[in-house]
């Protein structure tokens, strides 16, 4: 079992746990702000970005 690592959430700067066996494109949740994050790089360091969201119509 690979060791988990932590990376910074690009939205709230909280720490996000990333499983050691994470794959490119895997979706993670930030426990701090609830953002859905996508793994965009595995090496040399884990990188994540905010996952694209489907647009929601809030009546604007």
């Amino acid at each position: 079992m690979s060791v988990a690592v932590a990376t910074e959430c690009p939205v709230c700067a909280g720490m996000v746990g990333v499983p050691g066996d994470a794959m490119m494109g895997e979706l993670l949740d930030c426990d701090e702000c609830g953002s859905e994050l996508e793994v965009t790089q595995l090496t040399p360091a884990i990188e994540v970005r905010e996952a694209p969201m489907s647009a929601e119509d809030w009546g604007e």
Partner: protein, 345 residues
């Protein structure tokens, strides 16, 4: 185990206090008074407590000899009756506005002349996030107002971090009907009250003084408060518009809020990008002692909108009093306040 009593227990705040105290493992409720309902079961005023207690309301003069006395009286009563109250308990928690402000002049501007200004320095403002250490050693606590509580908790980290223009804060609070108390009037008649968006105090709300007093501890503070009554029973929700004095990112705001509230058991940061509950929503907080805080940063200006919500009867009154009691008594401050709320509701 301590013996606690409630003076003025027939109102909504007194009822919530009783509900929380009956479930508190360290407290026995020895008496609860109501002048108009003396001799009647407390369930006459608080039917949600059927089966939970066989207490009856007593006359206020019969409330004596307890360890802690909660004062849930109308504004002005605790201060005017103090000489007859002060020997009835070792500790006091007042839920009215009588002892919230330190300055009698400022009190006078908002509430009229204070009947016992000499007592003001003897009470500690009871918002734990502001005064935890002072509450710990105090025997007299005054809980904060509901609109003030929801506003102060939203703004405190930003004022303390000194990242906002300290004279340009506009707070827009929406409140439920329970904030007006248990007595009905022409404005609360159902055909009149139902469906309203009633700006009952667009300027000059009394809680302005309390907000400025607390935020002013870290420097000048001038806030502009408007309060509207909406079609909701419980809850207070605030949009606090502040203007940043320096350029900050969303991450910076998160860091400021997180560093201030990371260890607070009853403040939650709620600012999500998706889902129906992205920002604090008072209906999820009904019955809880939480204050939820979130924000949106206006990308087109330096305006930051801080969104906060509470249950006005719990976090804004009875729950805050219980939290203060827990701190005064040296107990875990979460004791008796663990209810997480309901969903859906």
């Amino acid at each position: 185990m301590i013996r606690a009593s409630i003076l003025g227990g027939s109102g909504y705040g007194g009822g919530e206090l009783l509900r929380l105290l009956l479930a508190h493992p360290e407290v026995t409720v020895s008496a609860i008074s109501s002048r108009s309902l003396a001799g009647k079961p407390v369930t006459r005023a608080h039917p949600n407590l059927r089966g939970a207690t066989d207490l009856r309301f007593c006359d206020p003069d019969e409330v004596t000899g307890c360890d802690l006395l909660f004062l849930a009286l109308p504004h002005g009563e605790a201060s005017s009756q103090w000489d007859s109250l002060s020997s009835r308990a070792e500790r006091f928690i007042d839920m009215s506005a009588d002892f919230r402000l330190d300055d009698p002049e400022i009190y006078s501007q908002h509430y009229g002349p204070h009947k016992r200004p000499d007592l003001l320095p003897t009470f500690t403002y009871g918002l734990a996030e502001v005064n935890r250490e002072e509450i710990r050693t105090s025997t007299r606590v005054s809980t904060g107002g509901c609109n003030a509580t929801v506003s102060i908790l939203a703004l405190l980290p930003l004022y303390e971090a000194d990242v906002v223009h300290r004279d340009r804060t506009v707070i827009d609070v929406k409140v439920g009907s329970s904030e007006a108390g248990a007595q009905s009037n022409e404005g609360s008649h159902h055909p009149v009250r139902s469906g309203v968006v009633r700006p009952y105090k667009a300027t000059g709300h009394r809680h302005t003084a309390e907000i400025e007093a607390v935020l002013g501890r870290s420097g000048a503070a001038r806030v502009h408060l408007s309060v509207s009554a909406i079609d909701m029973v419980r809850g207070a929700a605030a949009l606090s518009h502040v203007f940043l004095s320096e350029r900050l990112t969303e991450k910076d705001i998160w860091k400021i809020l997180r560093s201030r509230y990371a260890d607070e058991p009853f403040v939650r940061l709620v600012s999500e990008r998706s889902g129906p509950y992205r920002l604090p929503e008072p209906k999820l907080l009904a019955g809880t002692n939480f204050c939820d805080i979130g924000f949106e940063l206006d990308a087109a200006s330096e305006r930051l909108v801080v969104v906060s919500a509470i249950d006005n009867l719990v976090r804004g009154s009875a729950g805050q009093a219980i939290q203060a009691m827990n701190i005064m008594m040296g107990w875990d401050e979460r004791t008796g306040l663990g209810f997480p709320g309901l969903h859906p509701i």
